[in-house]
């Protein structure tokens, strides 16, 4: 960390946002743990996903395919495809934070929706760095602790159906999808992919319909025009209190989410962001806005 005293560290808005996003995101590790054990993974298999794979959507995808009777290779494929966006985040964070040596290897592991959104939501390079590390490491620790709690809880519950855990999995996937389909076009893409999935369910082995939907989505993504940031929203929005304003602003700017898009950096790697985004963020509270406005 680049801070000098604990006082200045905790006074940083990026640190405070990083801590609150860590708690909010870490807590729902409990649902992953419980659903993973309900889908038939044992305790250490569940923990391996949270410790080593560490990307909520991909982890849920893996157990979702397994729960539906899909093969290991289908589960692995769905998980890997859902993780592609993390590679895009890696490019942005590399330009923004320029980590080197072991820091780069560690940065890669904690590159997820929420750490990226926390970092790119700040404009001061030191704040971006603090936000990334605090959110990334904080979520990593809490996500794993609560995964363990959930896995033990899931094992203790017995029959998953009696407790509605299959319904909980449905709700979890819809909860992950929801923040990404606020606009008409992403919602339409979701409907098309859902319909494509149902059409092929009777025709191919379990798990494969999800990969068919991935192909459909990939083709739509390749040929469509639209906001490049769509689909890259974090599951838990770090700047929630001004999320609405911010979303409005980013549509107006025709750019991406702060978590995405090439407009986020200048050649020097410093964040420039969208001016509209910045103005939307001023409502975030006096201290936040103040820090973010520093050139």
């Amino acid at each position: 960390m680049t801070t000098t005293s604990p006082q200045s560290f905790f006074a940083s808005p990026a640190v405070r946002i990083g801590i609150s996003i860590s708690i909010a995101t870490g807590l729902y590790g409990i649902s992953f743990g419980a659903l993973s054990s309900a889908s038939g993974l044992d305790f250490w298999q569940t923990m391996a996903l949270s410790l080593l794979l560490f990307s909520g959507g991909s982890q849920f995808a893996f157990i979702g395919v397994v729960a539906g009777g899909g093969s290991g290779v289908a589960a692995m494929s769905a998980s890997a495809l859902l993780g592609i966006r993390n590679g895009v985040y890696g490019m942005q964070l590399n330009a923004l934070l320029r980590p080197s040596g072991w820091r780069r290897l560690a940065s890669a592991h904690i590159t997820i929706d929420e750490s990226t959104a926390t970092a790119t939501g700040q404009s001061d390079p030191a704040e971006q760095r603090r936000g990334f590390w605090v959110a990334g490491l904080g979520i990593f620790v809490l996500w794993n602790v609560f995964t363990a709690v959930g896995a033990l809880l899931g094992d203790a519950l017995g029959d998953p159906k009696q407790w509605g855990l299959d319904g909980a999995a449905v709700a979890a996937f819809l909860g992950l999808l929801w923040p990404r389909i606020k606009a008409v076009q992403p919602a339409a893409i979701a409907v098309v992919c859902a319909v494509a999935t149902l059409l092929v369910v009777p025709l191919v082995p379990p798990g494969v319909p999800i990969l068919v939907a991935a192909v459909v989505a990939g083709l739509i993504g390749w040929f469509r025009r639209g906001h490049e940031g769509e689909g890259m929203e974090p599951d838990v929005e770090p700047y929630e209190h001004d999320a609405e304003l911010h979303h409005g602003a980013h549509r107006a700017a025709a750019g991406g989410h702060p978590g995405t898009g090439s407009a986020g950096t200048d050649p020097g790697g410093r964040a420039v962001g969208h001016p509209e985004d910045r103005s939307g963020r001023q409502t975030a509270g006096p201290s936040d806005a103040e820090t973010r406005e520093k050139p």
């Binding site: 649902s31 893996f62 509605g164 893409i189 769509e230």
Partner: protein, 103 residues
């Protein structure tokens, strides 16, 4: 079925994808098609996983208590409930409908 090899392979691929982002030349970032495909893939996969978990049963499409969970979760999300509450609402809806004898 032994899942371990697939779990470990998924972990390796996830980390490799993340690290690759840090290693590719910055020029690639100027291509908006990359993020558009990644974003659309995310939406499509999550939509597919949602519907398969709600209505899929092997090679059949069925209507059971899980559909009730889907509707209940959508209502909770529309009311801006936090993620964990949405998950609990989904579980309660499915369990409740089964108690009533459906699905």
């Amino acid at each position: 079925m032994n899942l371990w090899p697939w779990i470990l392979l998924a972990c390796v691929l996830a980390y490799a994808t993340k690290l690759l982002g840090y290693l590719v030349p910055a020029k690639l970032m100027d291509n908006p098609r990359m993020s558009r495909v990644a974003g659309t893939l995310t939406i499509g996969l999550l939509a597919s996983l949602t519907i398969v978990n709600a209505m899929g049963s092997g090679n059949a499409v069925v209507l059971d208590a899980r559909l009730g969970a889907l509707v209940a979760a959508a209502i909770a999300l529309a009311l801006r409930a936090p993620f964990l509450v949405v998950v609990i609402v989904g579980a309660a809806a499915a369990a409740g409908l089964r108690l009533l004898g459906w699905g």
